[in-house]
């Protein structure tokens, strides 16, 4: 019972934040709503028993990415932005695309809809660590290369004078 209540609360936070992200006119408010939505998703990970993923989501997404986006919004924002429309004229076509994608996802999800789980959640950090340094060692090393490349790329692109 408590799992159901927690799920619906976290789902409301995640979905409400997401709706605010795409509907608010002020981009700063949008970025703050993104942080709220990401925190809701972290709560859903906790509902699923993914404790390490919960911590990673809070540290990387809420503490890192959302803050970074807020910084860039504040660097780029102008007061005149508040009076401009923030959506283009193609919302009807976008709604159609979303409806078709949603119908496809509904049909795909129907295959697995009834699956329930009675296994209690256990701590996952140790098994994730063993998997990352065992079977997933190569992707683990590659991802560190990707992070290094992203770091260098960010420094390169945001330099003042590219000569």
């Amino acid at each position: 019972m408590i799992e159901t209540i927690a799920f619906y609360c976290m789902a409301a936070v995640a979905l409400g934040g997401a709706v605010l992200v795409v509907s608010l006119r002020n981009t700063v408010h949008s970025a703050l709503a993104l942080g709220l939505s990401l925190a809701g998703v972290a709560g859903l990970f906790a509902c699923l028993g993914a404790d390490f993923l919960f911590a990673g989501q809070l540290l990387i997404y809420v503490g890192g990415i959302a803050i970074l986006i807020v910084f860039v919004v504040m660097l780029l924002g102008r007061t005149s932005d508040l009076h401009l429309r923030q959506v283009n004229e193609q919302w009807a076509a976008a709604l159609l695309v979303c409806a078709i994608t949603g119908a496809g996802l509904w049909r795909l999800g129907g295959l697995y809809r009834a699956a329930t789980s009675s296994v209690p959640a256990t701590a996952t950090t140790r098994s994730i660590g063993l998997l990352m340094l065992g079977d997933y060692a190569l992707p683990f090393e590659l991802i560190s290369l990707v992070l290094l490349a992203a770091l260098l790329g960010a420094v390169f692109f945001s330099r003042k004078d590219i000569s």
Binding site: V22, Y112, T116
Partner: protein
Amino acid sequence: MSLSLGHYLVLGAALFLIGLFGALTRRNVISILMSIELMFNAANINLAAFNHYLHPAAVTGMTVALFVITIAAAEVVVGLALVLAIYRNSATAYVEDFHLLKG
């Protein structure tokens, strides 16, 4: 009424569709990046939910979700640096003004 995999799949699909709608309709390039982050999160919810309900003993789905989070961090860092570079050259953050290559 207990929770099933369907609850999480519907939630993930709803989050994905909200993100898709935002990515298609917003004019500000930072808002588009935020919508893409929402879509990444929807995929992560699905990965963790499939892991929990179909293979409770394994942690493969959570590990892949961690990789997705890392890739998303790299993507948003490079994307925001590019946005800053474009803004410095053309002083705009609206995607319809990015038309340097238009003939």
